[in-house]
């Protein structure tokens, strides 16, 4: 589904990613772990099309297409979804309008008609309930005044509504207490399917107790320096990242 080859990325003149390789197939969950400053957030931003990053080399192929050529909204319509580390607060725009506008943009891209108002409402209410969110959240401004946990749940709600193929979770566990973490993890686990892949970017192993990855990669100094199975995360938890960076 996603092939990242020798990817190098600069912010200004500083090289952040220094030849990153990653291959993600449908149905897989990949965890990307690493110390602060290794380039984890840069990777998720570059994949989702955020501006301010200069790709200086390498390629990213998504379902056979050049992902880096696509504007951010086309990537989203093609099924790439970024769950933000810091979801943005948008005053005056209701959650329900954002969800509907986004869903319709994606449907239009796929050649489908706009979603029926009643069907939409039924769908969004059931997804909201599944994430243990009050329906009132739908009519509040996007993320405005939400707690950290509520914001992250809201990201998962959007993901559940938009049904992307390639989900990128950027530090989704940060700022979550254990109850919120469980709800978010349940939401993600409910979305696991053989047609969908996940990249979970995380500093800590904690999230992986709840969402079991198929692969764990260590990102250090702009490259993947070690890959393994779920057990690698436990090893990192025990030893830290230092032994890998020196290697």
């Amino acid at each position: 589904m996603l092939k990242i080859k020798d990817l190098t990325v600069n912010i200004g003149t500083k090289e952040i990613l220094k030849g990153l390789n990653l291959n993600v197939k449908a149905g897989e969950i990949h965890a990307i772990m690493g110390p602060n400053g290794a380039g984890k957030s840069t990777l998720s931003h570059v994949l989702s099309g955020k501006s301010g990053y200069e790709v200086t080399g390498g390629s990213v192929t998504y379902n056979g297409k050049d992902l880096l050529e696509m504007p951010a909204e086309i990537r989203a319509r093609e099924g790439v979804f970024l769950a933000f580390q810091y979801p943005v607060e948008i005053a005056g725009v209701t959650n329900v309008y954002l969800l509907k506008a986004a869903l319709n943009a994606i449907r239009k891209h796929k050649g489908l008609s706009e979603v029926d108002a009643m069907d939409f409402l039924t769908l969004v209410k059931s997804k909201t309930k599944a994430l243990d969110m009050d329906e009132k959240f739908l009519y509040r401004a996007v993320n405005e005044g939400f707690s950290g946990g509520e914001k992250k749940r809201n990201e998962i709600l959007q993901m559940a509504m938009l049904e992307p193929q390639m989900c990128i979770l950027d530090e989704t566990d940060s700022g979550l207490d254990i109850d919120a973490l469980r709800i978010v993890a349940d939401g993600v686990n409910a979305l696991r399917s053989e047609n969908r892949a996940f990249i979970m970017v995380t500093h800590y192993q904690r999230l992986l107790d709840y969402i079991k990855p198929d692969f764990v990669h260590v990102l250090a100094d702009g490259k993947i320096v070690k890959s393994g199975g779920a057990e690698l995360a436990l090893e990192l938890e025990e030893k830290g990242y230092g032994w890998l960076e020196q290697a």
């Binding site: 989702s48 099309g49 955020k50 501006s51 504007p71 951010a72 909204e73 990537r75 989203a76 319509r77 979804f81 970024l82 933000f84 979801p87 943005v88 948008i90 005053a91 005056g92 725009v93 309008y97 954002l98 509907k100 506008a101 986004a102 943009a105 994606i106 891209h109 401004a141 996007v142 959007q158 938009l162």
Partner: protein, 413 residues
């Protein structure tokens, strides 16, 4: 002119003399430094005349802005249309020309009393007004539905109207001023409204200026608030190529004044908003919140002045002006001013000028929404904060529709 309107003619004559001496205001005057009105003089408009009938196009435009849950006072090119109007019967309301004779005892003592700093446009309007509305609501009475005053311009001409509203002690009312014109017509509409709120009276006034995009507009609202009177104003400046709006209110003890505004400029529109709130006596409260959105080469002006007289102890006043510039050629001149002569006061003011937030645009794009649509959503949301304050459903719907036409798909219909 009828002879029994002589008292009014005396005023007209005096204003005519002033206007002939000074003409429209020059930019040398501090209050007019950001707005050049010389284009109006160059147009050499003739005074509008009464037209026989509206064509279908004009009729449909008028119908589109006539609110269904209100009373109506309709002026076409400045002339009162009794047959098109539906005025409430429970209060004193009629054209100002009628009131000059019928209600001289109410009108003559207050006429011109609320206009604190007259200038070319107030002189012009007083000298040349064709008609206007007179409203007086008795003590302890309430107007059961909003009264919508529609100013509809159809001719390439200038028209002036003059209005007086009196709310006696404990009276309550909602008024709506709607300014429209035949699309693409060039004209000048000039309107002066004086409002007298007696003790504990409560007036909510909406102004929707949706004149044609080639029109010139002047609208002055001058208010006197007696003890504990409440005045709430919602000012929407959406149309015209050059518009000047003035709201000046004078607050006695315990009065409350709330001024909300939204100016929405595009292309080469110039939208000037002057407000002045004078706290003359103690314990009055004022809240002012104006927002501006300027696109293309549009220019906005906000001059907000709060004056706190020596007597006005325990004044509580807040003024806020927020601006969104959507293009690098758009301009805002914002000048909040506090003049405080009392020592025990609480006054705050703030101004912001900014662009749409890049992070918010990207967030929406990352959900599949394209950049233009994302910008419409965010701009609509910025403006909608003011539209949401409208509590008359049909008016809310009308302004919401106008806003949506400017920023398509900015919100759900």
């Amino acid at each position: 002119m009828k002879t029994d309107m002589s008292w009014l003619n005396t005023f007209r004559q005096s204003d005519l003399t002033h206007f002939e001496q000074t003409s429209f205001p020059s930019q040398r005057l501090e209050d007019w430094r950001y707005t050049n009105v010389s284009a109006i003089e160059k147009k050499q408009f003739a005074l509008a005349s009464q037209i026989e009938k509206l064509d279908d196009n004009a009729k449909s435009r008028l119908a589109a802005f006539t609110l269904n849950d209100c009373y109506h006072g309709i002026f076409i090119d400045g002339f009162f249309q009794a047959s098109l109007s539906t005025l409430p019967e429970s209060i004193t309301v009629c054209s100002i020309n009628e009131a000059a004779t019928l209600h001289e005892t109410l009108l003559a003592p207050v006429f011109n009393q609320a206009i604190e700093s007259p200038h070319g446009f107030t002189h012009f309007t007083n000298a040349h007004f064709s008609d206007g509305i007179f409203v007086c609501i008795n003590e302890n009475s309430q107007l059961d539905k909003p009264l919508q005053i529609i100013h509809f311009a159809t001719q390439e001409a200038m028209s002036a109207t003059r209005h007086v509203v009196i709310l006696q002690n404990n009276a309550t009312a909602t008024l709506i001023e709607t300014f429209i014109g035949v699309e693409t017509q060039t004209y000048l509409t000039s309107s002066v409204l004086e409002i007298f709120l007696r003790d504990n009276a409560d007036l909510t006034l909406y102004k929707v200026q949706q004149d044609s995009d080639k029109a010139y507009h002047f609208g002055g609202t001058y208010v006197q608030q007696a003890d504990n009177a409440r005045f709430t104003h919602h000012n929407f400046a959406l149309g015209s190529v050059l518009a000047r709006s003035e709201i000046i209110s004078h607050l006695e003890t315990g009065a409350q004044c709330e001024l909300n505004g939204l100016y929405l400029g595009a292309n080469r529109q110039h939208l000037d908003n002057l407000t002045r709130i004078v706290h003359a006596k103690p314990d009055a409260v004022s809240r002012e919140y104006y927002k501006g959105i300027l696109n293309n080469r549009a220019r906005g002006v906000f001059q907000g002045r709060i004056v706190v007289d020596e007597d006005a102890q325990r004044t509580d006043s807040q003024m806020n002006n927020r601006n969104l510039l959507l293009s690098s050629d758009a301009e805002i001149d914002t000048k909040p001013q506090l003049e405080i002569y009392a020592d025990d006061v609480k006054c705050a003011h703030g101004v912001t000028v900014g662009q749409l937030d890049e992070k918010s645009i990207f967030y929406l794009q990352s959900r599949g929404i394209d950049e233009d649509h994302a910008k419409h959503i965010l701009t609509f949301a910025f403006a909608n904060e003011m539209v949401d304050k409208i509590t008359v459903p049909s008016l809310h719907d009308c302004v919401f529709t106008q806003l949506l036409a400017r920023f398509p798909e900015g919100a759900e219909r």
